[in-house]
Symmetry: C2
DNA sequence: AAAATTAGTGAGTGACGACTCACTTAAACT
DNA sequence: AGTTTAAGTGAGTCGTCACTCACTAATTTT
């Protein structure tokens, strides 16, 4: 079960379900690259037009405002990918029963880190936007809270019951795991770090296996 | 040894060593608040002037460009605080010998989290800037690398020698600790989270005491 | 007190950036 | 083929914003 890459969604159904003309795709592509490289407000519509090899009018044919263009670029992440990711995530968590905390970390981590790797640019823009509008994070984390967290906590409880996980608050355990995974995510998104994901995950898993072992 | 709060530096020597007139301080204060709340490019010099209750000309009297104003706002962090922080940090690390990993985490963590707490706004702007210009991070982390890291690693080595720390790469140990501390930092900076720093640190220390215990 | 220096003002300017529109070109439909 | 609809153009508009400047008010210097 590999995560659906953003690129696919881009090709197909960006604007609802209607196909986009070639030039409009070029516009989106150019906007994505420029927003990621220079940030939203430091990018002019002229720059986008030039990079996309179209006139400025073409940029405004489909996307009525610059803001709509931003939305269009982020839409796949926010509207399609996130729920999809959430459900894929949940599916893995509910289908299988993990027999150790490291098993869980490696399985989930592999999946998510790969996703981040594949969508660096988009995530970078998103991060910049989030910094400006903190409310957006709320929506985003709400999604996590409602769909993923219960499934994760359920796994934690199972592991605790089998005496394979320390008896701390689920929040606390979750925080530690997310912290470390996110620190690698940051390195990838911000500095395009070339990391050996497999190595990282097995190290991380080893560490948690010790730090989160049940008390004898 | 409490960290020097930014506010003090602000009052005293922002522009070299020359005292700033009252209205210029108002300008800096307004710029700080607006940059933190809306971001640099979404803030107009008119807004700054209005909030500071001065004319727009006054804004440009001392600070020739908007960019200089940003620099002036961030200067205390970049030029004064960071080296100061680094040296204070180093001093603690070289003066004392820590007798456990949790001792080290609680001492250093207390100090640094308090600092973040006291300088949320500035750090938030800095984070936004960093996202735009990744090179700046390099300078910043260079500073860490040269002055702090050796001292920390030295402590690690000592602990290892006394069989109080697992024999992993120092980089790896450092990464785990920083990750978790930074995740709390993020919560404070981005969402102004009201956290019980003491509780957090003792929990974190407990976790690391287990995860980083030497192998029997 | 006169002169000189610094602080502060606010209307004004020039540039640039988001967006428009009258028009051309191409495709789709009947 | 002729008509309608959509795609694409690029010169032009309009507003905003960073920045200036001629001027006044207040301090400092001598």
């Amino acid at each position: 079960m590999t995560p659906t890459p953003l690129r696919d969604l881009f090709q197909n159904n960006l604007q609802g379900d209607q196909e986009l003309p070639a030039k409009q795709k070029q516009v989106l592509k150019a906007a994505l690259d420029l927003f990621a490289a220079q940030g939203f407000e430091n990018t002019t519509t002229k720059q986008i037009a030039t990079l996309a090899n179209v006139s400025e009018g073409t940029v405004y044919k489909r996307f009525k405002t610059k803001d709509q263009l931003l939305t269009a670029v982020l839409k796949p992440i926010i509207n399609d990918v996130t729920p999809q990711m959430a459900s894929e995530f949940k599916q893995v968590l509910t289908k299988r029963q993990f027999d150790s905390i490291s098993d869980l970390i490696i399985t989930i981590g592999q999946d998510r880190l790969q996703f981040v790797f594949d969508n660096q640019k988009e995530l970078r823009i998103l991060l910049g936007e989030i910094l400006k509008k903190t409310e957006r994070v709320k929506e985003f984390s709400q999604l996590l809270t409602t769909s993923i967290i219960p499934a994760v906590y359920n796994q934690f409880d199972q592991l605790k019951a089998h005496h394979k996980l320390v008896d701390w608050d689920n929040e606390r355990i979750f925080q530690y795991i997310v912290s470390i995974i996110l620190s690698y995510v940051t390195q990838i998104v911000m500095f395009s770090a070339q990391l050996d994901l497999t190595q990282i995950l097995s190290d991380t898993a080893e560490f948690f296996e010790r730090g989160l072992a049940p008390i004898e």
